[in-house]
């Protein structure tokens, strides 16, 4: 069964990939590819802010392609969360919001996590998997 989301990226405010997770079978990436994609997205996001005709634009939120959608959420502190999903997948914004909350709870509140560094927090992994699973179940129910 295909999952609604294929992978999740978290980029710190200077553009470094601090978290990557594969969720589906499609589009699996090795470490180099995920790092490259993350910094590419960081730059494109920055350029989109400058090019946008909209005043005070905060950057690309959704990129739609033939084979995937990319949903991006940037917090006011500059951390970016983005998921690559199936085309037309719904309710990605609330999912990203939930992931942001999990990040504040299980990453930032972990006293042994160093800011801006790669995330290696087991509690975050567990709760993230559960959130994605819940999202998947909800999707089946819809």
């Amino acid at each position: 069964m295909a999952a609604a989301i294929n992978c999740l990226f978290i980029i710190n405010k200077s553009g470094g990939l601090i978290f990557y997770k594969d969720c589906g079978s499609a589009g699996r990436m090795d470490t180099n590819d995920s790092l490259r994609l993350a910094s590419l997205w960081h730059s494109m996001h920055a350029i989109s802010q400058q090019l946008s005709p909209v005043n005070g634009c905060s950057g690309i939120q959704l990129l739609q392609a033939d084979t995937f959608d990319l949903h991006c959420f940037q917090s006011l502190t500059g951390t970016k969360f983005f998921v690559v999903s199936e085309p037309g997948a719904q309710h990605m914004e609330p999912l990203l919001k939930v992931i942001y909350e999990l990040y504040t709870d299980y990453v930032l509140k972990n006293p042994f996590y160093e800011m801006e560094m790669p995330i290696r927090c087991e509690l975050f992994d567990i709760n993230l998997s559960q959130a994605i699973q819940r999202d998947r179940v909800a999707l089946l129910g819809r």
Partner: protein, 169 residues
């Protein structure tokens, strides 16, 4: 609430330990501020994620949000924003209630201590993460015999969020 009491007592134990370790009230003030700063730079994301406030249009709104939403969320109290200066870049947050000091009396040997200095650090750290450089100082402190707690909040610089790209480079 028992949970709040544990918090108050833990904070007291930290201040006490710092006084023992550093043996100098000014150093303790500095250390508390630094600890608050380290908390603030992490806490701001939780605040943004869970409070559903959006970007503030100006510093006045920022101060109101800190006083009404931020203090409520993390300390269970609210503050009053007063004493704006003419150009709207500094104001006072007045706290009538302060859960940090429930059982505290300052002894004579600690007269220079800003017991709640962690709070000023938290605000400074949190605002720095959303591009505002501020200076936060205590003006009134009930532990020092004043009639309220008053924090002075001064906006030093608003760091622009644009990337530092220059077209001609």
């Amino acid at each position: 609430m028992q949970n709040a009491e544990l918090f108050t007592l833990t904070y007291g134990a930290i201040v006490r330990q710092l006084l023992t370790d550093l043996e100098d009230v000014d150093e303790v003030n500095k250390q508390l501020d630094q600890m608050g700063y380290n908390i603030g730079i992490r806490l701001i994301d939780e605040f943004l994620a869970k409070s559903n406030v959006s970007r503030c249009v100006n510093f006045k709104e920022t101060a109101e949000v800190i006083a009404k939403v931020g203090f409520k969320m993390f300390l269970g109290i609210t503050a009053t924003v007063t004493n704006w200066d003419v150009d709207g870049s500094s104001c006072s947050l007045v706290l009538e209630d302060n859960p940090l000091v429930d059982f505290v009396e300052l002894p004579d040997m600690c007269q220079g201590l800003y017991y709640c200095n962690v709070l000023s650090g938290v605000i400074r750290g949190a605002l720095e993460m959303v591009s505002m450089k501020t200076e936060v100082t205590w003006v009134r402190d009930m532990l020092r015999g004043d009639d309220a707690y008053e924090l002075r909040l001064k906006l030093l610089k608003q760091v622009p969020e644009e990337y530092p790209y220059k077209d001609d480079e």
